[in-house]
């Protein structure tokens, strides 16, 4: 059974838009929350500028609990919370909520790992010049780690495309939903092919943008 492409194309375009919205919105929210958590993780480490054992341990435990849960299971298991927060468990907005939570913790780890690679001497030099902890966060930590950070965020956005497809299969909309309903349940190989090609293009585009940006920032 074949779809009628003339009426189907707009559906594909719409789904592509939904996927893009899911990925971009999650990337924005996830980056804001994730970068904040990552910075907090880093500065509360032992011997760091705002050392705080309690905060550091708490954040670590939360991340370590949530990160290993497969996304599809996480998605389903917090659906009650999603309903309370978003009002529904179906559609793009309902997918963005769990995706943002997972992305935040992935981003937090990426950020923390990039910050750890900053030479502690540079942070110390800023302290010795009389910079406050907040000042150090915004004028030393973020700028010094920005290049690798953007590569890390690129990596995250590629996994978000993957997550969005997973969310799509359980009612989240987007290309995953199209692939599932038309390609899988109705055995339409051409629909499958089109969605796969669009996903590949998205991933390549994300990678290209990320690489270009980070190269600009790292001046290499």
């Amino acid at each position: 059974m074949n779809v009628d492409w003339i009426t189907f194309w707009p559906r594909i375009v719409e789904a592509t838009g939904e996927t893009l919205i899911m990925v971009i919105a999650t990337l924005i929210f996830g980056s804001i929350i994730g970068v904040s958590i990552g910075l907090l993780l880093f500065v509360t480490r032992k011997n760091n500028i705002l050392e705080n054992k309690f905060v550091f341990r708490l954040l670590n435990i939360i991340i370590n609990i949530i990160r290993p849960i497969p996304f599809i299971i996480f998605l389903v298991s917090i659906s009650q919370l999603t309903r309370i927060v978003v009002g529904t468990t179906i559609g793009t907005a309902a997918a963005i909520f769990p995706m943002t939570i997972v992305a935040s913790f992935v981003v937090a780890r990426v950020v923390e790992n990039n910050l750890v690679s900053i030479d502690p001497g540079v942070i110390e030099a800023a302290q010795a010049m009389g910079a406050s902890p907040l000042r150090i966060i915004f004028t030393v930590l973020i700028p010094e780690a920005l290049g690798p950070l953007i590569l890390g965020l690129t990596f995250v956005s590629v996994s978000l495309i993957d997550f969005s497809a997973v969310a799509g299969t359980v009612g989240g909309g987007g290309l995953g939903h199209v692939a599932m309903t038309y390609g899988y349940q109705r055995f339409d190989g051409s629909v499958m092919l089109v969605t796969v090609v669009i996903l590949i293009i998205m991933v390549q585009l994300a990678q290209w943008i990320g690489n270009t940006l980070s190269r600009k920032i790292m001046r290499r």
Binding site: D119, E124, A125, Q127, M129
Partner: protein, 341 residues
């Protein structure tokens, strides 16, 4: 200017305790260049970092212009830190900022205007001789140039004190000499008190007025550089001094000298003004004794001369004895004994 009063610092690594600094009392006067020397792990960096409270003392106090820095509020400490520049072995420049950006960084922490920041950066770039590198990034610079940026950055807020943590240890000898000259200039032109730490006696010899020798967290000897060099008390100090001035020829030469029937060797030490007088020649002529300088040097230390010569005397034993006695009233003379080498 800076005073350490019975300062100790202990780090706990799990159950193990490291006594990095033990009961150190030192006082650094305004306008001097004070050097702390010691082998790696002696506690030098920890001591230096106690001055701007990058490290807090476990006991004792550090005073800067009579203020106990450990009692300052976080805000007052940040203000105080702007009065204490610091440079590092690894430069610790911000790689995401240009040379000008690095120098401007400490200025932007203060409330001065943008024009004033630019003017000051330009002035500092000129002072360290890097005006043409303003727009370069640190990774485009040589080690010496990076340290110049570090110095300019440390001087940006016109501090009274400059702390140097092994500032030349990552540099080659020529560049080291350049940077030491620049530090001397900083001290002379601006009257900035410099507290530096190093493991190289050469650095102490070249620019310091005062020196303290550290070992295992303790200051084992301290004083005027000239006095310490010419009359070291502690064996560690002697080892450091030997690293810059060999005061004995090699065992090979000494053995040959003795095998060839060479007589007793005496170490004759001249300090300061006496090095200008022909003491050796006058006294030996008077006693009708010949002398032979086997080994040694006369060098300048803190604008004073310091001679350290190995001399053998030839003549009647009694005449030699008299000459030695008279010589001993003017300069330091001691016999070089076999096991010294």
């Amino acid at each position: 200017m800076i005073e350490f009063k019975n300062v100790s610092k202990t780090f706990s690594l799990g159950k193990r305790e490291v006594h990095a600094v033990k009961d150190v009392s030192l006082s650094v006067e305004k306008g001097e260049i004070f050097g702390i020397i010691g082998f790696s792990g002696a506690g030098k960096s920890t001591l230096l970092r106690l001055v701007n409270m990058l490290e807090r003392p476990s006991s004792g106090s550090v005073f800067i212009q009579d203020i106990d820095v450990n009692t300052l509020s976080p805000k007052d400490l940040r203000t105080q830190r702007r009065n204490i520049g610091m440079i590092f072995q690894n430069f610790n420049l911000l790689n995401s900022r240009t040379v000008a950006g690095n120098i401007a960084y400490p200025l932007k922490l203060t409330s001065i205007s943008k024009q004033e920041v630019n003017r000051r950066v330009k002035e500092l770039l000129e002072f360290v001789g890097l005006s043409d590198k303003a727009k370069d990034y640190p990774d485009q610079l040589s080690g010496g140039q990076k340290q110049r940026v570090g110095i300019a950055r440390a001087l940006a807020t016109s501090p009274d004190i400059l702390l140097c943590d092994e500032a030349t240890s990552a540099l080659d000898p020529d560049t080291t000499a350049d940077i030491l000259r620049l530090l001397k200039k900083v001290n002379r032109d601006f009257g900035i008190t410099i507290l530096l730490i190093t493991h190289e006696m050469h650095v102490i010899q070249t620019i310091c007025d005062k020196v303290a020798v550290m070992e295992n967290g303790e200051v084992i000897e301290s004083g005027d550089v000239f006095d310490t060099f010419t009359n070291p008390q502690h064996s560690v100090t002697q080892r450091f001094i030997r690293s810059v001035q060999q005061d004995l020829p090699s065992t090979h030469i000494l053995k040959e000298w003795r095998a060839g029937g060479g007589g007793k060797l005496y170490r004759v030490i001249f300090k300061g003004a006496v090095a200008n007088d022909p003491v050796l020649s006058m006294i030996t002529r008077k006693h009708n004794v010949d002398f032979n300088i086997v080994y040694g040097s006369v060098r300048e230390l803190q604008e004073k001369l310091f001679g350290n010569l190995l001399v053998s005397f030839i003549g009647e034993p009694i005449a030699i004895q008299n000459a030695l006695t008279e010589l001993g009233t003017i300069v330091a003379v001691e016999e070089v004994v076999e096991n010294e080498c």
